[in-house]
Symmetry: C2
Subunit: 445 residues, 2 copies
Amino acid sequence: MITPRTLKGFRDYLPEVMIPREHAMQTARQVFQRFGFNPIDTPALEHLEILTGKGSEETDRQLYHFVDNGGRPVGMRFDLTVPLARFVAQHINTLGTPFKRYHLAPVWRGENTQAGRYREFLQCDFDTVGTDSVVADIETVLVIHQLLQALGIRKFTIHINNRQILTGLLEHLGLASQATPLLRALDKLAKIGPDKTAAEMIRMAGVTDAQARQILALAGCRGTTAEILRRLPEVVGDNPSAVSGTERLRQIFDGLAAAGVPANRLRLDASIARGLDYYTGAIFETFLDEAPHIGSVCSGGRYDNLVGTYSKQALSGVGASLGLDRLLAALESLGSLPSVRTAAPVFLPFFDPHHLHDYLMLASNLRSAGIGVELYPEPKKLGQQLKYADSRGFQVACISGADEFQQQQCQVKDLANKTSQTVAYTAARPEALVEAIQQILDANR
Amino acid sequence: MITPRTLKGFRDYLPEVMIPREHAMQTARQVFQRFGFNPIDTPALEHLEILTGKGSEETDRQLYHFVDNGGRPVGMRFDLTVPLARFVAQHINTLGTPFKRYHLAPVWRGENTQAGRYREFLQCDFDTVGTDSVVADIETVLVIHQLLQALGIRKFTIHINNRQILTGLLEHLGLASQATPLLRALDKLAKIGPDKTAAEMIRMAGVTDAQARQILALAGCRGTTAEILRRLPEVVGDNPSAVSGTERLRQIFDGLAAAGVPANRLRLDASIARGLDYYTGAIFETFLDEAPHIGSVCSGGRYDNLVGTYSKQALSGVGASLGLDRLLAALESLGSLPSVRTAAPVFLPFFDPHHLHDYLMLASNLRSAGIGVELYPEPKKLGQQLKYADSRGFQVACISGADEFQQQQCQVKDLANKTSQTVAYTAARPEALVEAIQQILDANR
């Protein structure tokens, strides 16, 4: 006998978790499609050389890798960005630009599970590759906005910044070569505060205290978008990167207003840096107003060299990644996730074995009308079956026995309100029954 | 520079392949849900001991396995049945019975790629666990029927048999202990014909020629369902398994008729055996009338011991597996797969850079009305942009320049018919435009 168990850091998804998860995934797909993004998929396994050295030292260490039966060193993907770069380098001549794709798929990292992290989790990325246009920046934010709205998040704020402003300031201060450690330190600002961030900058990048304070002055630039845009030139000077970065931010905010995004959903946040070297332009982070502690649920930005390690082609782009698992966990903790243990709303008890064919016909009729029905498979006592229906969370029970079939009617029971009504219908014309059920389902929405 | 390439036996899914694939997956999910099946997911990686010795020697050999960073022997799942068994053994007390689940997920096998097989492919399984009821058998066939219909297959036949009849005949012939090699030989009947099958039975199971011929006589029992049901007792005698198996088949066919499945979609086929030891009751295979050579696209059956290796609990069930990749390949070769390279139907050229905000507003309005729109990101020449729209396969282009925005109108171009109309609308009331586009989309359906 082998003990049934999952690996440490891995988990099963039971229906009550998988139903909202699948629903959220489908919602995300619809939003992506509405903006002209198309799905792709790539293999879970890649040649090891494709994966190593592309993320951080940490992701290299966390990589699941082995030698396959053909003697090839292979690894399981640890994100969807490296596979995208490989995919684009390989297929861009077929695909053409602009190439807009989304990709929902699991990734694997042998992370430290003590941090409450899982070793297998879903990533949900979208990118526009092959254009420098501000339209793509604006539409990336529009997608983030639509995604969160469609997923039922009522209060959230998209923080927007532009790496060019930071880069410009560092150039202005003569610190361009120390950008990587400085950005990584700045990334921790919200967590550890300005003093510790300054100390980290001094320690990791060897800057002076005055320099660290100037960088932090930029991050500390607060106010309305208009105010910050006005003050930025004072803080960063007339460095060309900073000037063009500021102008680009202005275009993005103006475009978002034109597209109808409410101003209170957006914030120009000069303090966000996004640690990755990768980003070169606009950057985005998204926080839930009611659960800021969980961190950004949708982050991304613009990059100017996607495929550098695989091809000489210069391909820029912009995109973001939705943390669906994290978002679902937040929705659950906020009580915003309906508790559903069945995807079909209607339960059909089977308690008169002589009428099996009537039950089958009734189920078929309701399903043909687009209503999800579970027919209980065994002719147990009605009470037992209704107990099962309650435990599963069905919304409606259609109760029919010999008498009901004889009289061509059905007891339609609203399982939430515990009310019941008798509905007359015929097998040939079940519309009245469909309507009665649909009314209850609509009212529950 | 690293060459961008996929591993041998693995493939990328480009949008033109992924769009119909994702559509088919979503269609399958909707059918499952309509019958009360709920989604689950399990990890890609399992403890190696969970996976080995559960399929055939062949699957053991094909398993991708390695030792993880924590020194644990692990393997990538090679099917969804073994994970289901592990999942059910682990969670059945929480889940309760009947437990109806579906699971769409990739599996991995280091197969011989010379056979045109991939090492990563999608499985799409559904099962009803914890009931012996014939209702679950009937509904399994109903789901298969609905799946193929919903996926746009016009001509297909579901072949149904019952292992009990074969088992009964073998008991009757005193060959019960040789069931496994005999069933595996019988499984090849359609491919190699009766003579070679008999030879294989003699060679692999040591039966006599007369015995082989008697088994083949059962498989050769042809005619209408009623005719076969009438003749079966002559062929298999009064063995109790065979008698109850025959009665069960009668109930299944009667139930399917009551549920409205046309008789020409079903066939009692005494020749199908399904090689796996696993099955003990009804078995199903599904063939496309126009592409029988690709083999069964949806197969399954009833089993009486799902979790034997992990638990002492006796859990029977019934289910089937849809070969989505195979089915999509068949649809493509039959020309039944629409060639779509974009999930959004409407293209919005951006050719007047001074009107960026008008384009953004127009795109937002159409998207709010539920219409998928791709806004071209760069103000290139209209001709170039329309060429792009043609290559991507958009259905409609909404052409607006300075004059159109000024006059509050839009050229709505049907890209398939090459017809064009001028539609007047205002940003505040875009209904007329939405309607004109929707008419074209509906006509294209």
